[in-house]
C-alpha cells in the first residue's frame, strides 16, 4: 500500500503545472473560451506533445500504458488551472470506451488520431429522460443493410461540440451496444453549447444515422458493463479535477482571510472564521484521500470494488466539495460573488463535477447497494 506519487508522476505533474501556469492565465483562458473551438488549440497541442493523449492507452496502440492514477495526476492539474480542453471527453471517455471494448483494428483506426491530438472523441451515453441512469437507453440501432441505422437523442455529451467521432450507446435486439459515429454523418444533428464551467458539450439527435457493421464496438448487447467502467474512469478523473479546484479554492480563501482587513484586523483573526477555515482544509484532506483511492481502483475489473471506491469519492466530492465552495464564497463576502474574481470559476468547476456521471445521491445510493449487499460478518447477535 503506497499513497505517494511515483517519481515519474511527480515529474510529469510538475511539468504539466508549469506548462499550464504559463499558458493558462485568467486572460489566456478567457481568450480560449471566446475562440471558435472554445478551448486553446495551442495548449491542446502541447498536451499532445507531452504525451498526455497517449497516457491511458496500451503500448500496442501507441499509448503509454498508464493507469487511472496517472490520469488523476493530470486531472488535478486541469482542475487547478480550470482547463477546458476536451481531455476527459476524448481520452478518458471516448478513448476509454474504444480501449476497453474495441478490437485491435478499432484501436488502430480510432486511437491513433486521438493520441496524436488530431482526432477528438466524445461519448454519447446519457439521454434526456435518463437522469443519471446509464442503463436507460431509448436510442435504437436497427439492422439496416450491412450495418445499422441509429435513431434517438443524447444529452449533455461532454466535448460533443468539437468531437470528430462519437461513441454512442444504442439498443439492438441483443441489448445495449456501442457504435462509433462520425460527427458529419448524415442524419446526425449536433447542437453544441457551453457548460457552467466553460467546457463544451452538445445535444445529439440521431435521425436514422447509417453506420457500417464495423462501427459496432465490442460485443453486441454487451456494452453496459463497459459503459459503467468508462463512466467510473470519468467520474474518478472528474473527482481529481474537483480536488484540484478545491485546492485552489482553499488557497484563495486562506489568502483572503489573511489580507482582508475589517474592524482594524485581518478577518482571519476572528475565531469563528478560523474554525470554519479549518473545516475547509479538513474536508479537502479527507476528500483527497478518497480521490486517491478511487483512482487506484478505477482500472479494476471488479465492478463492486471499483464502484464502491468511485462512488465513495464521487458522493463525498459532490456534497462536501459543494459545501467547501459555498463556504469559501461566504468567507470572501461580496468579492466572492463577482465574476471577475476567479473564485467563482472554481466554484463552477466543483458544481459541474457533481452534475456529470451521477450526482452525489446517485453515488450514495450505489455505494449503499454495494455495501448493504456485501456479506454480513458473523453476527454476534444472530447467534
Amino acid at each position: 500500500m503506497d499513497f505517494a506519487l511515483t517519481e515519474e508522476q511527480q515529474l510529469f505533474s510538475d511539468a504539466l503545472r508549469k506548462m499550464l501556469e504559463a499558458e493558462y492565465s485568467q486572460s489566456q483562458r478567457a481568450a480560449a473560451l471566446d475562440s471558435d473551438n472554445g478551448y486553446s488549440d495551442a495548449v491542446w497541442q502541447q498536451m499532445a506533445e507531452m504525451g498526455l493523449m497517449a497516457l491511458p492507452f496500451p503500448e500496442a496502440a501507441g499509448g503509454l500504458g498508464g493507469t487511472a492514477s496517472d490520469t488523476m495526476v493530470a486531472a488535478i492539474e486541469f482542475g487547478r488551472s480550470l482547463s477546458v480542453e476536451p481531455f476527459l471527453a476524448s481520452v478518458v471517455l471516448g478513448g476509454g470506451a474504444v480501449r476497453l471494448a474495441g478490437s485491435a483494428e478499432q484501436h488502430e483506426s480510432l486511437l491513433t488520431g486521438v493520441i496524436a491530438g488530431e482526432r477528438k472523441l466524445a461519448a454519447a451515453f446519457l439521454e434526456p429522460q435518463a437522469r443519471h441512469d446509464l442503463g436507460d437507453v431509448e436510442t435504437t440501432a436497427e439492422a439496416a443493410g450491412d450495418g445499422y441505422s441509429l435513431s434517438g437523442r443524447k444529452a449533455v455529451v461532454l466535448g460533443g461540440d468539437c468531437a470528430d467521432t462519437f461513441i454512442v450507446s444504442a439498443k439492438t435486439g441483443e441489448g445495449i451496444s456501442l457504435f462509433s459515429v462520425d460527427a458529419g454523418a448524415p442524419g446526425l444533428d449536433v447542437r453544441g453549447y457551453k457548460l457552467v464551467d466553460g467546457r463544451g458539450a452538445a445535444e445529439l439527435e440521431l435521425g436514422g444515422v447509417a453506420v457500417s457493421a464495423d462501427a459496432l464496438i465490442g460485443k453486441d448487447g454487451g456494452a453496459l458493463p463497459v459503459i459503467e467502467h468508462v463512466c467510473d474512469l470519468a467520474a474518478s478523473a472528474l473527482c481529481a479535477e474537483a480536488i484540484g479546484a478545491i485546492e485552489m479554492i482553499n488557497e484563495m480563501t486562506l489568502e483572503y482571510l489573511k489580507t482582508r482587513q475589517q474592524f482594524g484586523r485581518p478577518i482571519g483573526s476572528f475565531q469563528a472564521l478560523q474554525h470554519r477555515a479549518v473545516d475547509l482544509f479538513l474536508e479537502y484532506e479527507h476528500a483527497k484521500s478518497l480521490v486517491f483511492v478511487a483512482a487506484m481502483s478505477a482500472d479494476s475489473a471488479d465492478a463492486a470494488a471499483r464502484g464502491r471506491a468511485v462512488s465513495a469519492a464521487k458522493s463525498y466530492i459532490g456534497t462536501r466539495g459543494r459545501e467547501v465552495a459555498k463556504e469559501a464564497v461566504q468567507l470572501h463576502g461580496g468579492i466572492g460573488v463577482t465574476g471577475e474574481y476567479q473564485l467563482g470559476d472554481y466554484v463552477k468547476r466543483v458544481l459541474v463535477a457533481d452534475m456529470l456521471f451521477g450526482d452525489a445521491d446517485h453515488h450514495l445510493e450505489r455505494f449503499g447497494r454495494i455495501s448493504a449487499s456485501s456479506p454480513a460478518g458473523a453476527s454476534v447477535w444472530a447467534q
Binding site: 447542437r191 457548460l195 458544481l351
Partner: protein
C-alpha cells in the same frame, strides 16, 4: 392561541387575489415564474399599479400612504403577491430610505421624495458599502464637505443593487473625520444625474448584472438633501438596517418558490417515478418545507408578539439568518432536481424575448445561475456572521 384565519382575513385574501387577477400584468407574472429577467419598465408597471390601489407602501404610517394592516394581513398580502407572480417591489425606496425620511427627514424631503418614490416615477438605490468597508460599515471613507448651501462628495460605493434602474441614491458619508468612526457619519440623498456620478456594472458569477460600483467625484449635493442632522447618519442607518433584515426573511417569496420547485420535482423522473417521490429527494424537500414552516410561523409569532418594536428589531436577525439560508436551499434543491441539465450554461435563456431552443427542459436554464446568484443572500443586508455577532451581543449578552 388560534391558527385559523378570521373571516375578515379570508375576505382580505379574496380582495388581494381579485386585485392581482385584475391588475398584475400577465407577462410580468410569467417572467417571474420562469425566472426571466425583468426590465425597469416591468418594475415600474407593477409598482404603479400598487400605487394606484394604495398598497405600495403598506408599512408606512397611514398618513403617508400606509395601509394600517395587521401583521397577518401583511403576510397574506405578501404570500398572495408572490404566489401570483408579482415581483418584489424594489425595496431601496419604499422599504429602506422611505421610512427613514418619514421618521427623520425634513418636511421638504417628505414633500419632495415620498410621492414619486411610491408611484415608481423615481427609483432608489443604496450607497452604504465601500470596497474597504463591508461588514465593518462604520469604517466608510466617502467624504462630504459642506461648502455653502451644498455638500461636495468624493468617494466610492459598491454592491449597489439595481443602481442601473435608479434615479436617486441614499448615501452614507463621512462629514466629520475627527470624530469616532460611528459619530462622524451623515446620510445624503443624491441625484444620480448629478455631475461627477459614475455608475459601473459589476458582473456577478451568475453572469448577470445586478450590482454596481458608484464613483463620486466632487459631486454637489444640496444641503437640504441631508437627512435629519449632520453626523447622526449612523442612527438612521441602524434604523434602516433593522427594516432591511425584516423584509429579508422573504417568507412569501420562498413559499412561492418552493411551490415552483415542487412542480419541477413532479416533472423530473428518477428510477421510473416522479422525483418528488424519491425517498432521498423527498426527504430533502420535506426538510426544506418544514424549515420554511418554522420560519413562517416564527415570523408571525414575532410580528404578533406583544414585546413591541424593540424585541422585533433584535429577533429580526434570526429571521434574516434562516430566511436567507432557505432562499439558497430552494435554489440548491432546484439545481439538484434538474440533474445533468443543470450543467448547460445558456444565459440567453433568461431573456424573456429570447427565441432560441433551451437545452433540456425550460426550467433547467436558470437553475445553476440562480443557485450562484443566491449566494449573496447570506452576505448582503449585513452578513449572517454580522447577524450572529448582533445576537450574541444584544440578545444573549455574551
Amino acid at each position: 392561541m388560534d391558527l385559523a384565519f378570521t373571516p375578515e382575513e379570508d375576505a382580505f385574501r379574496a380582495e388581494v387575489r381579485a386585485f392581482l387577477d385584475a391588475e398584475l400584468p400577465r407577462d410580468i407574472a410569467d417572467k417571474m415564474h420562469k425566472a426571466k429577467r425583468l426590465t425597469k419598465d416591468d418594475c415600474y408597471r407593477w409598482q404603479n399599479a400598487l400605487y394606484h390601489r394604495g398598497w405600495v407602501s403598506p408599512l408606512w404610517p397611514v398618513e403617508y400612504g400606509g395601509t394600517g394592516w395587521t401583521p397577518v394581513q401583511h403576510q397574506i398580502f405578501d404570500e398572495e403577491c408572490f404566489a401570483a407572480g408579482a415581483p418584489r417591489v424594489i425595496p431601496f425606496g419604499i422599504n429602506l430610505v422611505g421610512p427613514v425620511i418619514i421618521q427623520f427627514g425634513s418636511d421638504y424631503l417628505k414633500e419632495r421624495f415620498l410621492k414619486p418614490m411610491q408611484s415608481g416615477e423615481e427609483f432608489w438605490c443604496q450607497g452604504f458599502s465601500e470596497p474597504g468597508s463591508g461588514s465593518d460599515l462604520a469604517s466608510l471613507k466617502t467624504k462630504a464637505v459642506l461648502e455653502g448651501d451644498h455638500y461636495v462628495v468624493n468617494g466610492q460605493k459598491t454592491w449597489t443593487t439595481l443602481g442601473h434602474f435608479a434615479d436617486w441614491i441614499f448615501l452614507l458619508v463621512r462629514t466629520d473625520t475627527e470624530a469616532k468612526q460611528q459619530m462622524g457619519i451623515s446620510m445624503l440623498l443624491v441625484d444620480l444625474a448629478s455631475e461627477g456620478v459614475e455608475m459601473r456594472p459589476i458582473v456577478t458569477m451568475d453572469g448577470d448584472h445586478h450590482v454596481n460600483e458608484v464613483f463620486l467625484d466632487n459631486v454637489k449635493v444640496p444641503a437640504a438633501h441631508l437627512v435629519g442632522e449632520e453626523n447622526k447618519g449612523w442612527d438612521y442607518a441602524k434604523f434602516l438596517l433593522v427594516n432591511e433584515r425584516m423584509g429579508i426573511a422573504s417568507v412569501g417569496q420562498s413559499k412561492s418558490e418552493l411551490e415552483l420547485l415542487k412542480d419541477v420535482a413532479r416533472l423530473e423522473r428518477k428510477n421510473g417515478r416522479p422525483l418528488i417521490e424519491d425517498p432521498l429527494y423527498q426527504a430533502k424537500l420535506s426538510r426544506l418545507e418544514i424549515d420554511l414552516m418554522a420560519l413562517e410561523y416564527t415570523n408571525l409569532r414575532m410580528l404578533t408578539s406583544k414585546g413591541g418594536k424593540a424585541s422585533v428589531g433584535a429577533l429580526s436577525s434570526y429571521l434574516k439568518i434562516r430566511g436567507s439560508e432557505l432562499q439558497q436551499t430552494i435554489m440548491e434543491l432546484t439545481m439538484e432536481a434538474v440533474g445533468p441539465y443543470a450543467a448547460p450554461w445558456v444565459p440567453q435563456a433568461n431573456d424573456a424575448d429570447w427565441n432560441g431552443m433551451p437545452v433540456g427542459p425550460e426550467y433547467a436554464s436558470a437553475s445553476t445561475s440562480r443557485f450562484l446568484d443566491r449566494r449573496k443572500t447570506t452576505i448582503y443586508g449585513g452578513s449572517n456572521e454580522i447577524q450572529k455577532n448582533i445576537i450574541a451581543k444584544h440578545i444573549l449578552n455574551l
